[in-house]
Subunit: 122 residues, 3 copies
Amino acid sequence: MYRIGIITMSDKGSQGQREDISGATIKEMVANLGQVEQYRVIPDDLEVIKATLVELSDLHNLDLILTTGGTGLSPRDNTPEATLAVIDRNVPGLAEAIRLKVLRRLPRQCCPEPLVEPEVRP
Amino acid sequence: MYRIGIITMSDKGSQGQREDISGATIKEMVANLGQVEQYRVIPDDLEVIKATLVELSDLHNLDLILTTGGTGLSPRDNTPEATLAVIDRNVPGLAEAIRLKVLRRLPRQCCPEPLVEPEVRP
Amino acid sequence: MYRIGIITMSDKGSQGQREDISGATIKEMVANLGQVEQYRVIPDDLEVIKATLVELSDLHNLDLILTTGGTGLSPRDNTPEATLAVIDRNVPGLAEAIRLKVLRRLPRQCCPEPLVEPEVRP
């Protein structure tokens, strides 16, 4: 069984202005994998995210840290940058596999069919 | 409605030796999204591509810049390198989603079935 | 026809303690593409991998070098890092297309269905 941490990035959530549905959902999803020992809702702040990731990894020595939020394109979406700044090793295939699952679930939202279908040359 | 720019990278196209079908196709594809305010056909030159991207972004202040061409493997295919050199933020999932669509359309060309199908261990 | 090299990363294989099934399989898979001129089984050592890649590329001047092994998450899995350290040009779409094929073949192993299926907001 893994020792798990969950971090939700949310300016509103960290101020108690929004219920953290994502974090709660992840908690249910990993219930069979191990024990959620740390659960945090923090603001979308680059330095706070970095510090929290390092704390859960190095101080609490968790096996698995799952994050949710802060992955959009606004200036306050800092999760990927913060994560890349503190990890020892990047495994592109993992993020890729996650995005692939989302693409399959949201095909129209992500990748609208072109209005003109270009002909493929053989 | 977005203010859009289209840049076609093509040595031959920039010298008027080849019709720019890709650029014209993109123009049709985005017709419902906004106004194509800038449309350029430029040579496959790293510095020219960088300068044109910066000009359309910072001087013309466009919302969306779409590029076509220069993504192959020849020494004159400089579009990805030029783009990475000038962007503030890279979103790997976007390029990934685009490539995924191409893969689905060209499955045999990109990923030929192995001649020997290795057995998958359970 | 291409001049091809195959490198298998395997601590045990390089000591003759394990048969190199992957390398042999790749050899069969590329039989129609060209001539396998170099075939090596080397330890999972970062510097050895880098040196072997450079040797096959620059000294033997091969057209295509295929590697197998060393892509996991253990400290001795150094193949991606060694490769990135010596290549002139990275083409993320190629590794992506390879991983995509593996995902399609091993959907459950790689991307287990979530225990709770989150509802997608329209």
